[in-house]
Amino acid sequence: MTPRPFRVKRTYAETDDTFTLELEPERPEEGFAFAAGQFNMLYAYGVGEVPISISGDPLKPLPLIHTTRSVGLVTEALRRLKKGDLIGVRGPFGTSWPVIPARGSDVVIVAGGIGLAPLRPALYHVLRNREDYGQIALLYGTRTPSDMLFTKELEQWRGRFDMDVGITVDRATGSWRGNVGVVTRLISRAPFDPHNTVAMVCGPEIMMRYTVMELTKRGVPESRVFVSMERNMKCGIGLCGHCQFGPSFICKDGPVYPHDVLTPWLRRWEI
């Protein structure tokens, strides 16, 4: 329950409200390793602690990379951090994206907004081990073109012949020439074999619901659709009770779940 002190090595803006922190441990000898999809509890001194997914490459766990959208007091305090500041880190916690079981299958990654951050480690993994997988599709939607994360990398991925990248925005602004509409609209056209696909989905809860619907419509079994859930968390380790979702604790049993486990609960309101 005691955070490890890390120091901010670099901090930079991704969009108007989203930024990335690169953190180095004060005691590097203790090391750090994580699996794609796991999260840390980040403690902004005096302000609070929040769960944030790790958005870096699992093979290069340090510096630790977190991409965060400033939405409230704690995330805003994280945004104010400067190079050299201290930050508390507990983790990594939670389950990870099924990059190992997905070997031999097509992989579809569907992200909405900040949801791309927790998925990036999975992307790094499958692209590095490209030969282990069938087709790879990344479908990404944001509200406007200026909300798009990791734009340089997106360009690189777009340029690759061994993966398919679909990008869309809810509202076109500026010189946007690409798709307009919700990300679920990209699913029907995406190249993958529904009967041999693992899908990984992260975004707002409502977007995930519709994405799962579209995927199942195409024939992907729900047990092969993985989503990352979000709930209030105070401890991150199953002791505080806040993140309960039906019979599970999202911090230990999640955040990444095969969707069929959640189906009975997602149908009900206010679980």
Partner: protein, 363 residues
């Protein structure tokens, strides 16, 4: 016995009359015990009463449980300075504490909290520290209270294990005595140092009769058969709405419940910001903020909050920890200001589900 414990450096926590109720507090001498006291309990009602005899443990559980000591309402979990995030707060074990006179259901509740707070991949270091150095002297129940239902949850009226010593207070034949049983080496040692005589057939008969009497007079029952599946299927039962109309969302039930463990963390700073601390305190699934995620609370209605509480206690807990989250102590019934009764609600949901099934079957 108390002296023997105190002599060995144990701080004794036990029952005591305070401000019209029997609480758990530090005990200096036998006179502190609620000798000759009893209580009458019902939904939203507790009255301390006097009894004709001098029974020491002739009452049922009060509002507090050992949770108040082991998983205290407030605890600083981190304290540090701005330019050095080292915590100055360490998990200190409590002084040696002997719980004297806790009930079988309370002991069971401690074991359940152990499951929650110690068994996972990550334990609660503060709870673990407090959980060390404890001595349990359980007093079995020879009478049941108006809101008790431990017989339904298999946690009483007699404790089977987990204690150092267990006692049953016997008063038959005008002979005031305790039937003792050791549950650990330490218990045996203590027992050996006490004036005692071997157990007679008579003693066993009397205690057996007491337990039977307690089970018989238990104020409440809970049918646990298939309860988890039932509740999971009945998440949209209209009964939830009915109880929400009475429920005040005050959180008394979760506060008094000996197994509820939920907590939140507060961040405090000195005025100039140079020092900060993080303090953990009890939270409750009845508070709106409990399910807050950026943008709003998930459980906006009283209906969903009551449902979370009851389905967690009686259903989800089984998935999470393999047991019920309820030991049948009846506190939540007694101390709910409007007397909402978990057993009554569970029964109502069961019967309306059965009715519906019968109706559907007729179609």
């Amino acid at each position: 016995m108390l002296e023997a414990l105190q002599h060995n450096g144990w701080t004794i926590i036990g029952p005591k009359v305070q401000d019209g109720v029997i609480v758990l507090d530090e005990i200096q001498s036998v006179d502190d015990f609620p000798i000759g006291y009893s209580d009458r309990q019902g939904p939203a009602r507790y009255r301390l009463t006097r009894r004709a005899n001098k029974a020491v443990f002739g009452y049922n559980v009060g509002p507090q449980s050992p949770k108040a000591v082991l998983h205290a309402a407030r605890k600083v979990i981190w304290r540090g300075k701005k330019n050095d995030l080292k915590s100055q707060e360490t998990a200190e074990p409590l002084p040696h504490i002997a719980f004297v006179g806790i009930r079988p259901c309370e002991l069971k509740a401690i074991l359940i909290q152990d499951d929650v707070l110690l068994r996972g991949p990550y334990g609660d270091a503060f709870y673990a520290a407090r959980r060390k150095n404890l001595f349990f002297i359980v007093v079995n129940c020879g009478q049941a209270g108006g809101t008790c239902f431990c017989a339904s949850t298999n946690s009483g009226p007699k404790a089977d294990s987990g204690f150092d010593l267990s006692a049953t207070e016997l008063m038959g034949n005008d002979d005031h005595r305790f039937l003792m049983q050791a549950g650990s080496r330490r218990g045996e040692e203590l027992l050996a140092s006490l004036p005692a005589r071997p157990v007679t057939e008579e003693d066993l008969k009397e205690s057996g009769a007491l337990f039977a009497h307690a089970v018989e007079t238990m104020g409440r029952t809970l049918d646990t058969h298939g309860l988890k599946e039932l509740l999971y299927q009945q998440l949209e039962n209209p009964r939830w709405q009915e109880v929400a109309e009475r429920c005040l969302g005050c959180g008394n039930c979760t506060s008094v419940c000996p197994t509820c463990f939920c907590s939140t963390v507060e961040d405090w700073t000195s005025l100039d910001g140079s020092e900060a601390r993080r303090e953990r305190r009890w939270d409750s699934c009845f508070s709106v903020d409990f399910s807050y995620i950026h943008g709003g609370s998930i459980r906006q209605t009283g209906m969903s909050r009551y449902r979370q509480w009851m389905t967690h206690k009686l259903a989800a807990w089984q998935d999470q920890f393999g047991t019920l989250g309820c030991v049948g102590c009846g506190r939540c019934i007694t101390w709910c200001p409007v007397g909402i009764d978990i057993t009554e609600e569970a029964a109502a949901i069961r019967s309306s589900a059965q009715q519906k099934e019968a109706l559907d079957g007729n179609d």
